[in-house]
């Protein structure tokens, strides 16, 4: 196993993800298998200065730096259950306790 139980639990904490105790051993085996598999990339001769990939053709890498907001699909009032006088209405703090 290239990855141990403690390492998987540490990564789960980083990912803010509860892992049921009964699933840990299975995850250790599966993640080790995946990590061992992808480690073959280290055999590829790509110098340390090799370029990283940028998604899409060069023309789409960056949009124009044009000021101004992208218009909303609909008015802001339709994006919240309650809206009044240009403001979203939200529950008072504490009102959602026990939910």
């Amino acid at each position: 196993m290239s990855i141990g139980r403690e390492e998987v639990l540490h990564v789960a904490r980083l990912a803010e993800l509860d892992v049921p105790p009964g699933d840990v051993e299975g995850l250790v085996a599966q993640i080790s298998r995946i990590v061992d598999y992808v480690a073959q990339l280290n055999q590829v001769p790509a110098g340390e200065h090799a370029l990283a990939f940028q998604a899409g053709p060069p023309a789409v890498t960056l949009g124009e730096d044009t000021p101004g907001a992208v218009p909303l699909v609909r008015g802001p009032e339709s994006f919240a259950p309650e809206f009044r006088d240009g403001l979203f209405l939200v529950p008072r703090l504490g009102a959602m306790e026990g939910e």
Partner: protein
């Protein structure tokens, strides 16, 4: 099943109303449900009736509607305002989007009927549509087999004749692979050709809304409608959209490359026979077949399974119980505990696995060894294609789409790497951001096999025209072994 062009002509010309088309679609959806395909996650008679009325009203105003009354299913990771969007995950059960995706709006504006939200692998992570929180999708020709994935619901609906076209999404082959398994056409456009606004993000540098059709023409007509620049997606390109081209009678002067790495010795005999048949037909049409090499092909799957989980770990951080869908309060009763409990219970096993792998390869101790290295290898994979299509090179590439026909349900679920290798011939194209399609090339012991055509960036027009010529030249349902 009537094709896209014919259906649009019938409705636009007033031969049938869109309301009638909606009723016919509802009947076919009911039959698919009765067969137990489990291909849909949401549709209702009311939703379809409203769609029919809407399109009839547009037609009455004299609008030109290239997809008038054409029913199109959407993979349930494309947001719609009139139906829930769940990504086949418990964490998003019942979630209603406050806006339509750009592709949804463009389909509606073109007169299409949004027919159903289709089943998928949870958050589009999978190659078999067995990883849905709402049950697996059955292969329309053999219920013991998988339809492929992750867009298996959309593929099954098209293959079963419920709709002539459907949208899926590709991050690493999730439309071409199920198209091949189900014996239909699946088209992945160039990254940047179609807006991702309203497509729930998985791997943002890879995600592409893609199209299924019963025929090349069906898929091409839908792709034309959804393509084009969108202010809401900065990676879309402001370039002319390929119109649907006439099928060429001859391919004389066209150079088509056959990459040696895509024809390994252990390639399934039926798959090989299907591609050999496609190659022979292209040659008979006048194309020149040229052996080429894409030397980094073997590294595409491991590269993909570093980069896609890394991007997924980041993108799926937003599903934390505070803003979307389900919420669980953890034992500590505080906010971090709410995040952990909601995510731990809400995500299924494959999504949890990928989030953990993605977090691991992005963590400080391993970032250079895995993530940075994979980014470099991705560049080498893209450079292979650039060389093949470069000066004096080929115009298109022809390969098998998958290494085998559809596999049996449960056959690969115990070993994630074995499942990942089902995408071995489709993931390199996704990493390079290129357009490609899968076309039925025959059947092997009754199961469909597909041939893949790959084009240079923004070369969809020629790719689709050549595919249409090939489609006319071979019977995609004939036995090849």
């Amino acid at each position: 099943m009537i094709g896209v062009a014919e259906q649009a002509k019938r409705v636009q010309g007033g031969k049938v109303s869109a309301a009638d088309a909606a009723r016919e679609t509802a009947e076919r959806l009911k039959l698919a449900e009765a067969r137990g395909l489990n291909a849909t996650l949401h549709w209702t008679d009311e939703m379809l009736t409203a769609e029919g009325r809407r399109v009839d009203a547009l037609r009455a105003k004299g609008a030109a509607l290239p997809l008038a009354g054409v029913p199109v299913a959407l993979k349930d990771n494309i947001v719609t305002t009139d139906a829930p969007t769940t990504c086949a995950s418990r964490i998003l059960a019942g979630y209603m989007s406050p806006y339509d995706a750009t592709v949804t709006t463009r389909l509606r504006d073109a007169g299409a009927l949004i027919a159903a939200k289709s089943n998928l692998d949870e958050f589009a992570m999978g190659s078999s549509t067995e990883h849905s929180a709402f049950g697996r999708v059955l292969h329309p020709l053999d219920p013991d087999r998988v339809p492929g994935g992750s867009s298996g619901g959309s593929a099954a609906l098209v293959a079963a004749g419920v709709v002539p076209a459907a949208l899926g999404s590709e991050t690493g082959g999730s439309v071409r692979q199920p198209a091949s398994f189900c014996g239909i056409v699946g088209v992945k456009p160039t990254y940047g050709r179609v807006s991702r606004f309203g497509l729930v993000a998985f791997g943002s540098s890879l995600d592409c809304v893609s199209v299924f059709g019963r025929t090349v023409d069906d898929a091409a007509r839908v792709l034309e409608v959804i393509s084009g620049h969108d202010l809401r997606d900065a990676t879309t390109v402001d370039a002319p959209v390929s119109p649907v081209l006439a099928t060429p009678g001859s391919l004389r002067g066209l150079r088509i490359g056959l990459p040696t790495e895509y024809f390994p010795a252990d390639l399934d005999a039926g798959v090989r026979a299907g591609v050999d048949r496609a190659a022979a037909a292209l040659k008979a049409l006048g194309a020149e077949l040229v052996p080429v090499s894409l030397p980094h092909t073997a590294y595409a799957v491991p590269t993909y399974y570093v980069l896609a989980p890394a991007e997924a770990a980041s993108n799926l951080a937003r599903f934390d119980g505070a803003r979307y869908g389900a919420r669980r309060i953890g034992p500590a009763g505080d906010l971090p505990s709410l995040y952990r409990a909601t995510r731990g219970e809400g995500f299924g096993p494959e999504v949890r696995r990928r989030i953990l792998v993605g977090t691991y390869v992005l963590s400080a101790g391993y970032y250079d060894a895995y993530y940075a290295k994979a980014q470099q290898v991705r560049n080498l994979i893209a450079a292979d294609f650039t060389r093949a299509f470069g000066t004096g090179g080929v115009d298109l590439l022809l390969t098998p789409t998958t290494p085998t026909p559809a596999f049996r349900a449960g056959e690969k679920t115990a070993d994630p790497v074995s499942m990942y290798l089902a995408d071995i011939f489709v993931s390199a194209v996704s990493l390079a951001g290129l357009p490609a399609l899968s076309l039925p090339s025959g059947r092997s012991e009754g199961l469909p096999v597909g041939a893949q055509i790959i084009a240079p960036a923004f070369g969809e027009g020629r790719m689709l025209a050549v595919a249409a010529a090939l489609e006319s030249a071979i019977d995609g349902t004939a036995e090849v072994r």
